[in-house]
Symmetry: C2
Subunit: 333 residues, 2 copies
Amino acid sequence: MTTIRDVANHASVAPMTVSRVLNQPDSVSPETRQRVEESIAALKYVPNMLGQGLRKKRTMALGLIVSDITNPFAIQQIRGVTRAARDNGYTVIFGHTESDPEEELKQLRALIERRVDGIILSPVYNTPESVNFVQGQKLPVTVLDYPMPENDVDVVRCDTHLAARELTDYVLDLGHRRVAMLSGDLAIVTARERAEGFEEAMAARGYSAPVEYGHFTPESGYEMALGVLQSESRPTALVTASNFIALGAAEAARELGLSIPEDLSIVTFDNARTDTVLDPFFTGVVQPIAEMATVATHFLLDRILQRYGGTGRDEILPTIFEVHRSTAPYGHS
Amino acid sequence: MTTIRDVANHASVAPMTVSRVLNQPDSVSPETRQRVEESIAALKYVPNMLGQGLRKKRTMALGLIVSDITNPFAIQQIRGVTRAARDNGYTVIFGHTESDPEEELKQLRALIERRVDGIILSPVYNTPESVNFVQGQKLPVTVLDYPMPENDVDVVRCDTHLAARELTDYVLDLGHRRVAMLSGDLAIVTARERAEGFEEAMAARGYSAPVEYGHFTPESGYEMALGVLQSESRPTALVTASNFIALGAAEAARELGLSIPEDLSIVTFDNARTDTVLDPFFTGVVQPIAEMATVATHFLLDRILQRYGGTGRDEILPTIFEVHRSTAPYGHS
DNA sequence: ATCATGAATGGTATGCGTACCATCGAGCAC
DNA sequence: GTGCTCGATGGTACGCATACCATTCATGAT
């Protein structure tokens, strides 16, 4: 493969001059520059970022780790970070962990081995190991989605606890009284926070607050919904902790012959506006994913470019509440 | 950041010995090895792949370019390639082009700059520029999804033309006579091939074969469907060229008060089994994405490891026809 | 003509890890 | 004891691009 020396020979200049043409074109005379550029084109020279990164001690690459790439939510994160990075001249190297904390560490290691300039991490758990690992290498890192109480690190997230209260209040305001929550994995802080918000909102009005913990998957949502919808005191509304759980719950309702929203209202988190459906069905809370990704990227660049060197920032962006077609007042049917 | 020399000093050995511990542990005496390993752990040494790649002239990284990351189809490709690569000790560096051919070239360039060992490309168009660009750098490349008539390159794909005929025949066998096709962008070979298969199947039975060309998006599917479903001779069945188009068409049908499958049957391509729905709705043709990704990765590794050096291979995998709930015999309602 | 100035270009060393060859000493055959 | 092999380890140079310093030469001031 062509090197800067090949180009230099072809253009009868020193390698340094070729490097200057690429990096500080103004410092080279127009004639020389043109000759070098012709040689670059003739030899199809493509710079070697390995050599460059080694010397410059930066690779102009950001690492991004998401846990579940099948979730449209993660896709929007990827798009947002990629765009923000590209706007600043950075490339994104990207990994997914299939929600496995060990795989997360492996992926982080792979990014560090490639000497990315910084890492944006949407972690599986909010335990401190992953952030410690990256920071132990003196590499800047920004965390997406989760509070990280044990780390001094920049975080960009929403107040999921508050959003859970709002969501629950909305359902209660519609007149529903028997409401159940279908949440995700108990080990995941988001699942707990959302359940807690639900419990608080219910308790504030003196209702019991049944919570099911499962997983953030349609299958789990389906099973949890089958369970609660066949209990003696069938809820008239469900609060689900993710779009996947909501989908599974809706499927269960369909099989049980329950119409949404006539017989059952469903509200959900993370009803990510993907392009897969024209018209969103679920009423619920949406996170400003694109904006979160942008802020996270800027936080990271602040650290990389040493524009900020203080203690970890905790940026909490407001969620957006959207009413769609999965909810109706109690007794509506 | 720690280097191999730091470790060498810490363990009182030469850098070469550290390198050997990492690459050929058996060639180092157990005592020395253990001392070095302790130093590696103590200093939190993480190898620098920039230096290693420079010297070894390989990076153990594969590049993957997909066009539309919002499509579950692409996600399955990413997962498949990532898995197959990981099973062989390779990392995947991944880019998406948002279906922009210029962005495709930029992304390819970024991968080449990072000196990936090979590239898997799911291209926007089947024009030869992208493959020529990569091959011009003497880098192996495998193409996913599309035939590339102008390139001598390994390709992994399905016979989409044949699948279109099968799909159309299925609808005709159900008794439908007025059938319309909603396809994608005329510039995309898949859109053309699927439309051609449809036209041939219709012509073989002497029916007219109306084809709409739009885009591979729900919005376009919605608009195309609104058009054909409001024409004087409203079709009783639609063949759509992608899952996105089918979703848009279904939405249009819903707005027009048409029930699926009672009033309108829909069959589609690429009803990718994602994890977003428990129970697929659309009858249609599914591509064996995971297998395609595996084969593509193996093709690429064959080239990288020089296990194969012949002319471009063209692997055509069979599609899978799945009957779900979007189709019914004509006159069923 | 002389010298300072600065633009343009070149030479050398470096970043990190490894290929390659050299060295050293132990063990062995005779 | 001599010569040999082989395992273990070290030294040097290199891959590619660039930071830094050196050099060259033209220009302008005096």
